[in-house]
């Protein structure tokens, strides 16, 4: 009997159906992989198993009987430990406190037993080969170190079910090997493991069974022994890749953006590259490699410590988004809800926001001009909306992204920087965004694209720049960029 199982679970967020009819059984002593592209619903499934979200329909079964997780505390009491994709640490507290928060060992008088905490942490760290000072505050830890603390936190729980949502994304080879050693030992002791990773080799090394999700729907459950990595990729993608990445070849023109030895201490170092008109250059790398930070500095949001940026041959004033915009740069940020849009403001006003000077009549903003500008771009980008006066918040993720794009494209930039342009949007809109980027490049725009999705990088870019720990470690032309070459550079396995 499965320790923990999902039976016919569905979950929607507003209009987005994140999961549809998913069943999954986690057996004691078995490592079960969850495969699927970004946006396939893996993280939602994790959050249902860990009690963060409740399923709309369907059941969670614990040892065969239905349970309701009212919150993460319930799941934890049921023996479920989770390593989340994004570290969830308390920056002000020490590493030890982070590991044991909410369930610190106590002495008979209810007092927190610090000695026991220190002792257990010592054992955990020794097992994982972690060399961090447990009394150090979590603030300022690197992503990899934060991830190690997360792992120690989950392992300290004597879990019956261990769920790992991309635990290895930021780790080095050694750290991954040690983690796998510990997880295998746990599995042999009868722990059920759910493992999510984009690295297929890890799935094949650690797991016995794999369930594949596509667009929220389970498409296959296989024994690892029965399939090959190619089979798995086919199950994950399940569609014609070329249609999703309609890349046309542009003719590279003059250099539009030049970045010269850009450095921000402790974040990225000595980053130099050029983007020509008519080409799409992808900035690839692992989460935390410094890609977003580089484009933030290019656009003048953060101040660089050294180096400079040239747009159209003219050097940009540092730390000034206004100067960057005047020079013809546009930045579509990573987090459209927080950074790209004013969610309560209407569609047309959001589109006009980056170019208010152009919709002005005297000292006032002309609603008519605003509306006309928005109408024009809404049609061009095939935006799906009821009224332009509706708040942006009611649109789907993909359409919201189109609004952000419209906002910047209306300024007619010479260089378009897009950070994770298709994160969390549906496949159909994704293809449209890709077609749009390709058309813009062919039309003579220089496009710099930050993306964590390898297929997107490989499908869209004329050149791929790879960052690793704040440095540019590889530049691969389209012809020689493969999943292997990009990943090995991104994980630091090849020398710069």
């Amino acid at each position: 009997m499965a320790v923990l199982a999902l039976s016919d679970v569905s979950k929607s967020f507003g209009a987005v159906r994140a999961l549809r009819g998913v069943s999954l059984k986690l057996e004691a002593g078995e490592a079960h992989a969850l495969a699927g592209e970004n946006g396939a619903g893996k993280s939602t499934l994790v959050k249902i198993l860990s009690g963060v979200h409740r399923p709309d329909t369907g059941q969670i079964l614990l040892n065969g009987s239905p349970v309701t997780f009212g919150g993460p505390a319930d799941a934890r009491h049921a023996g479920v430990a989770v390593i989340y994709q994004e570290p969830t640490l308390f920056p002000d507290l020490s590493i030890v406190e982070n590991i044991f928060m909410g369930r610190q060992p106590r002495t008979r008088f209810g007092r927190i037993d610090r000695a026991a905490m220190a002792e257990q942490t010592g054992r955990l760290f020794a097992g994982l080969g972690v060399e961090l000072d447990p009394e150090q505050a979590a603030r300022g830890l690197s992503i990899a170190d934060q991830q190690l603390v997360e792992i120690a936190k989950a392992l300290s729980r004597d879990a019956k079910v261990l769920i790992m949502d991309e635990p290895t994304a930021a780790l080095s080879g050694n750290e991954v090997a040690r983690l796998f050693g510990v997880v295998k030992a746990l599995r042999e002791q009868g722990c059920a493991v759910l493992f999510i990773s984009h690295r297929l080799d890890e799935i094949f090394e650690l797991c016995q069974r794999v369930t594949t999700l596509r667009d929220g729907t389970p498409v296959a459950e296989d024994l690892i022994a029965d399939i090959t990595p190619d089979d798995l990729v086919r199950r994950m993608v399940g569609r014609d890749l070329d249609a999703l990445y309609p890349k046309q070849d542009g003719v590279p023109g003059e250099v539009a953006l030049e970045v010269h030895r850009l450095t921000r201490e402790g974040v990225f170092t000595d980053v130099s590259f050029r983007v020509r008109r008519g080409e799409i250059v992808a900035l690839a790398g692992l989460v935390g490699a410094g890609r977003t930070e580089v484009v933030r500095a290019i656009f003048g949001i953060d101040r660089q410590d050294a180096g400079w940026v040239e747009v159209g041959g003219r050097r940009l004033r540092p730390a000034s988004p206004t100067a960057a915009m005047a020079a013809g740069l546009a930045l579509v940020p990573e987090d459209r809800r927080q950074q790209g849009l004013v969610m309560d403001l209407s569609i047309d006003r959001n589109i006009a926001l980056a170019g208010l000077a152009e919709v002005r009549r005297g000292p006032l903003i002309s609603r008519a001009a605003e509306h006309a500008r928005a109408q024009d771009w809404a049609v061009r980008l095939r935006l799906k909306f009821a009224r332009l006066s509706d708040p942006v918040g009611v649109l789907s993720g993909g359409n919201q992204q189109k609004v952000v794009l419209a906002k910047w494209l209306a300024r007619k930039p010479s260089v378009l920087i897009v950070d994770e342009p298709t994160r969390g949007i549906d496949v159909g809109t994704k293809a449209e965004v890709h077609r749009l980027l390709s058309e813009l490049a062919v039309g003579g725009m220089a496009v710099l694209m930050v993306s964590s999705e390898l297929p997107e990088v490989l499908g869209m870019a004329d050149r791929v720049l790879v960052m690793h720990e704040g440095r540019l470690v590889a530049e691969l032309p389209r012809a020689s960029a493969t999943e292997e070459s990009v990943m090995s550079a991104a994980t630091g396995r090849t020398a710069a």
Binding site: F90, E97, G102, D133, E265, G266
Partner: protein, 344 residues
């Protein structure tokens, strides 16, 4: 980790760096206090006399106790502006019962005031923790609401010292072992709350909630219940402070403690408690209260215009926050550099 009482383990550079900087927060106040007493004492030695110091302790006792309570709330990334009104309500209510119903034992009156404070705190806690109203707005609302109830209850009446039993008033002036009783009560509260914040799960969870609210939920912390508890404990201490106020000043009406909430928050912030939660100790907050009261007394001894005192308190508050911010940025930059060096 900012607890004063914590020993420094031999450790890595990061730990030491952090220690030094976070310690400076409270060390800074201790130094400021030393400078204050040193300089003022040199100019006017009577400032260091037993009677003078006793007065300063007595004067800071109520603010210090409120600062301890406020720290519980601020550490969770919230704030309670309504405490002055809770002090006013409980102070006046307690005095009224004592004046009108002499048969009620003093201990019952004190317990009643604390209970009334808990009820007020629970209302704040429900608004903030359950209804998710931002604390600044919710407690601004209850600041007026509680004060309004106070006014309605008083109906313009004032309770004078002569109306209250002598045994109650003597609580405000009595000394035990040479220390004013009120200061002793504040000290006991301080030590008890300080111990709980450091050694109980509930205490550490308050810091966790303020440090990263989302992660606190994921860690299975009962965030709502903890926030409720923090507001209720703060209300209880405000209720106790209300009784202390009545005992100390003897004359109370509905306007008692009006505006005091800002003094308390100032003391907390000067004491090194981060206004956005997650760090700081009640010891720092109490020291902050002592420092602000000490400055007021010193300025009087130094014959500085009373009007200038408020401005000086303000300047000190800004200095404390600027210092805090500068230190935080320094630490962030230092850690960034260190990682950068390690990476190479």
């Amino acid at each position: 980790m900012t607890a004063l009482s914590e020993a420094t383990p031999p450790g890595h550079g990061g730990r030491r760096l952090f220690d030094r900087v976070t310690r400076v927060r409270e060390l800074g106040i201790v130094l400021a206090l030393a400078a204050l007493f040193g300089v003022t004492g040199a100019v006017n030695p009577t400032f260091l006399s037993f009677g003078s110091i006793r007065d300063i302790l007595l004067n800071s006792a109520i603010v210090a106790m409120l600062a301890v309570g406020q720290t519980l709330v601020i550490v969770t990334r919230n704030v309670d502006l309504s405490i002055s009104s809770i002090v006013g309500l409980t102070g006046f209510g307690g005095a009224l019962v004592l004046a009108d119903s002499p048969a009620v034992p003093i201990a019952v009156v004190i317990a009643g005031c604390v209970a009334l404070g808990v009820v007020c705190g629970a209302i704040n806690g429900l608004l903030v923790g359950v209804a998710k109203v931002p604390a600044l707005v919710a407690t601004l609302g209850t600041l007026y609401a509680f004060r309004g109830i106070d006014y309605a209850w008083a109906g313009g009446r004032q309770v004078n010292a002569a109306d209250m039993p002598e045994s109650f008033l003597s609580l405000g002036s009595r000394s035990v072992l040479g220390l004013p009783l009120l200061a002793l009560v504040a000290l006991i509260v301080l030590l008890a709350v300080g111990w709980m914040l450091r050694n109980l799960r509930a205490g550490r969870e308050l810091y966790a909630i303020g440090s990263n609210p989302d992660a606190a939920v994921l860690a299975g912390i009962q965030v709502r219940r903890r926030i409720m508890t923090a507001f209720m404990a703060n209300g209880a201490l405000a209720g106790l402070a209300g009784v202390m106020w009545a005992a100390r000043f003897g004359t109370v009406d509905a306007t008692v403690a009006t505006g005091k909430e800002l003094d308390v928050i100032a003391a907390v912030v000067v004491g090194g408690v981060a206004i956005f939660g997650g760090s700081g100790t009640v010891f720092g907050a109490a020291l902050g209260a002592l420092l602000l009261t000490g400055i007021t007394s010193a300025l009087a001894v130094l014959r500085v215009d009373a009007l200038a005192q408020t401005a000086i308190n303000g300047a000190l508050l800004i200095a404390a926050i600027v210092l805090d911010r500068v230190l935080a940025l320094r630490v962030a930059a230092a850690l960034r550099r260190r990682r950068y060096r390690d990476a190479r």
